[in-house]
């Protein structure tokens, strides 16, 4: 099992680069389709959050590391933007009419662990999904 990493300055191509990195990780380890789908959705939501808000729309330095383990898939994001004003204990799915605000709730719903921390290096997000196979 091994790690796949991406270092990027965030911009219009970042989500595509992230998806390519995930596909490289899927090329090994027989990860089940359901696990892949959950990780891809959660990664898209957290990455979108970082790209849109961490630099207030300006580029930030982003590092993603995908770790395909025997029993789980872990994705770590680090960025050098400003602190994310999130309270992961208070995530709720918005109502039907909302046009935004579902991202973190969806990520939370498909992951076994979602955590956020802040240190001098910047913001750290950890996403873990147990493998279902």
């Amino acid at each position: 099992m091994s790690e796949y990493a991406l270092d990027a300055q965030t911009g219009p191509d970042t989500l595509e680069e992230i998806q390519r990195t995930l596909e490289q990780a899927w090329s090994e380890g027989n990860v089940a389709d359901d696990t892949k789908m959950c990780i891809e959705l959660a990664v898209s939501e957290i990455a979108t959050n970082i790209i849109e808000y961490s630099g207030d729309g300006k580029p930030v330095r982003l590092r993603m590391v995908v770790d395909v383990r025997p029993d789980s898939v872990a994705v770590n994001f680090t960025d050098d933007g400003h602190p994310a004003p999130v309270d992961l204990a208070r995530i709720t799915m918005p109502g039907e009419a909302a046009e935004s605000g579902r991202g973190l709730a969806l990520a939370h719903r498909v992951l076994d662990e979602l955590s956020y921390s802040r240190d001098p290096d910047g913001n750290h997000w950890t996403l873990i999904r147990r493998r279902s196979e």
């Binding site: 219009p12 989500l15 595509e16 998806q19 789908m37 891809e40 959705l41 898209s44 939501e45 979108t48 790209i51 849109e52 799915m93 039907e96 009419a97 909302a98 046009e99 935004s100 605000g101 579902r102 991202g103 709730a105 969806l106 719903r109 498909v110």
Partner: protein, 111 residues
């Protein structure tokens, strides 16, 4: 970004077919395209999701915004032939009832 392909059925319903990944990159363009269709006088819209391989909350936001605009204009927005990933995300977000899916784009307004 160029528009997604559209066609008009015999009963005057506009069918839009987004392809690829409906994320923060593609969602604003879809949102604008659907808005422009309603502004152009057609408020019965089907979004054919058979070629949408991935959707996230950005894509859902575009569909909900367009649904509201279409209903305000006296019409509706319906979705057709969603892929497995799209079905799952609709269920996870509790939007499968407000965005009910139909088997095919051409029959989505039959009932």
């Amino acid at each position: 970004m160029s528009d997604f392909s559209t066609r008009t059925t015999g009963s005057g319903v506009v069918v839009v077919q987004p392809t690829g990944r409906l994320n923060m990159v593609a969602a604003p363009a879809l949102r604008k395209q659907l808005n422009d269709i309603v502004d152009g006088g057609t408020s019965r819209i089907v979004v054919d999701l058979s070629a949408t391989e991935f959707i996230d909350s950005s894509g859902l936001g575009a569909l909900i915004a367009a649904l509201k605009i279409a209903r305000n204009a006296g019409g509706d927005l319906r979705i057709a032939a969603p892929t497995q990933q799209v079905c799952t995300v609709l269920e996870l977000s509790n939007l499968d009832r407000v965005l009910r899916s139909y088997a095919s784009a051409d029959s989505a307004f039959d009932e």
